[in-house]
Symmetry: C2
Amino acid sequence: MKIAVLGPEGTFSHQAANLIDKKAEIVFVKTIRDVFEAVSEGKADKGVVPVENSVGGAVNFTLDALLDFDLNIEAEQIIPVIHHLMAPKEIELSEIKTLYLHEQTFSQCEDFIRKNMASADVVETLSNGESAKRVKENGGTSACMGPEIAAYIYGLKVIRSAVQDNRFNVTRFFVISNTETKPTGYDRTSVTVYPQIDRPGLLWEILGIFNTNKINLTKIESRPSKGKLGDYVFYLDFEGHIKEEKVKKALGALEKMAFVKALGSYERKY
Amino acid sequence: MKIAVLGPEGTFSHQAANLIDKKAEIVFVKTIRDVFEAVSEGKADKGVVPVENSVGGAVNFTLDALLDFDLNIEAEQIIPVIHHLMAPKEIELSEIKTLYLHEQTFSQCEDFIRKNMASADVVETLSNGESAKRVKENGGTSACMGPEIAAYIYGLKVIRSAVQDNRFNVTRFFVISNTETKPTGYDRTSVTVYPQIDRPGLLWEILGIFNTNKINLTKIESRPSKGKLGDYVFYLDFEGHIKEEKVKKALGALEKMAFVKALGSYERKY
C-alpha cells in the first residue's frame, strides 16, 4: 500500500501515516493539495492530511482541497503534538538568531518564543520537516521546533523538550481515499454546506435541521466561497453515519436550501 | 498620530494605514500581536490589522489577539488585493527557482503558481514586505508576489501584473484603538462567544437569539478554545451598534448561556 503525505520526512503527518500501516510505502509530496492529487490520480492508495489542531485551529489548505477534490474521508486520527526546540548543537537560547517554523508550530509555541527568543528572526516554512532540513543546511545559530522524529532524521540536537504553550495539544488528521466506510455505531460525518440564497437567519435554520433530527453537531467552520466578501461555505461535522436514516433525512432537508457535499463518514476518535 | 502596522514597509497593511491619515507616523512592528501590544501600551494611538481575505479566509493571529487584548475595533476597511509577480530584473517564469510568499498570498495565487512555476521552491514569509525584502537581498533567480508598493519600495521589477487567482479579491482590515464609536445608523458589531456549558443544539440556540431580535448575523468563525479538541470560541459579526436597544437585549440573553466579549461596533463598509 502507498500512502501520500506532506513531506519532507519528519513531520507529524509522517508519524500519522506510520500509524495506518507500518509496512506501507510513504510517498512524500510538496503540498497538502499534492496529497489530494496523488490519491485522485491513483499514485497513492490513501493520503494523510492535518485538518485541525487544538491550539492553532483549522488547516485551511485541507478544508479547501476537501471541497475541490472528490475523495472520501475514511478515518480520523488524533496525534498528540509535542514540539521540541532543536539545533545543530547545544546552544544558549539567547544565541539563536534564526528560527525556522511552520506557521502552525509558530502559533503553538508563540508564548515560549516571545518569552525566550523575542529577538530571533522567524522564517516560516511549509512543514516541520522542512524546518529541520533547513536548520541542518544552514547550521550555525539557526534552530527550529518540531516533532522528535525530525531531530532523529536530520541529526539535530534537542536543546529544550516540550516547548509548546499548551500541555494539551493534539492534531486531528483525516485519512482520504476512494473507499466508503460501513457504519460502526460510533461515527462522525463531515459535509460542506453552501447556501443557495443567503438571507437573514439561514444558518440558524440550517442548524435547526440537525436539532430537529436529534443529530449532535460537533464542529462548524467557515471558509470564504472565494466570491464576494461575506459569502461563506460552511464545514459541518456531526455525529452519525451517512447510511443512518436520521442522517439521510437531515441531509435531504438541508439540500432544499443549500448545496451539500458529503465528505465522508468515519469512526469517531474523540 | 501614530499608527502601528505589521512591517516591514510595503504590505497591504501599510497601504490600509495610509488611508486613515496620510500624515500619521507609521510604526512598523514584527507581528500582528505586536500591533495589539503597541496600542495597549500607548506606543501607538491606533493599529491596523488584517482580519479576513475574500479568498484566503480568516487571519487567525488577529482573531486570537482580539480575544486576548482589551482593545476596541473602531473601524473596518476593505482594501482590494492585487498581487504582482516581481523579481530583481526581467526573467522568464521557468527560470524562477525560489518564490518568497506570505501564506495568504500563496493561497491567493496558488493556481497561477501551480500552472506556471510548479518547480519553484516556495519559502513562506511573515509578510508581503518581507518577501520583497528577501528577493532584494537574495537577487538572482528569486521572485515574490505582493502589492505594487513593495516593488516600489524595494526596487523590484514587476514581471507579471495581477497574478491572483480571483479577480475579486479584497482584504478586510480592523482599525483597533481605545476609542468607542457612536452609532452611525449603518453599523456592525463583533463579539466573541464562548459557551459556558457545551451541549447539543447550543449553537442553534445562540443563533436563535439573533433571529428573535431581528439582528442579521453577517459572519461566524470558530477558533479553538485552546482547551480540549472540539471546544471552540465563536466569533460573530452582526448588523447593529452595541448602543442600540435590540443589540443590548440580544447580548443580555446571550450572556445567560455563554461568556461574551464585545470587540467593538463600527460603521459597515460592505
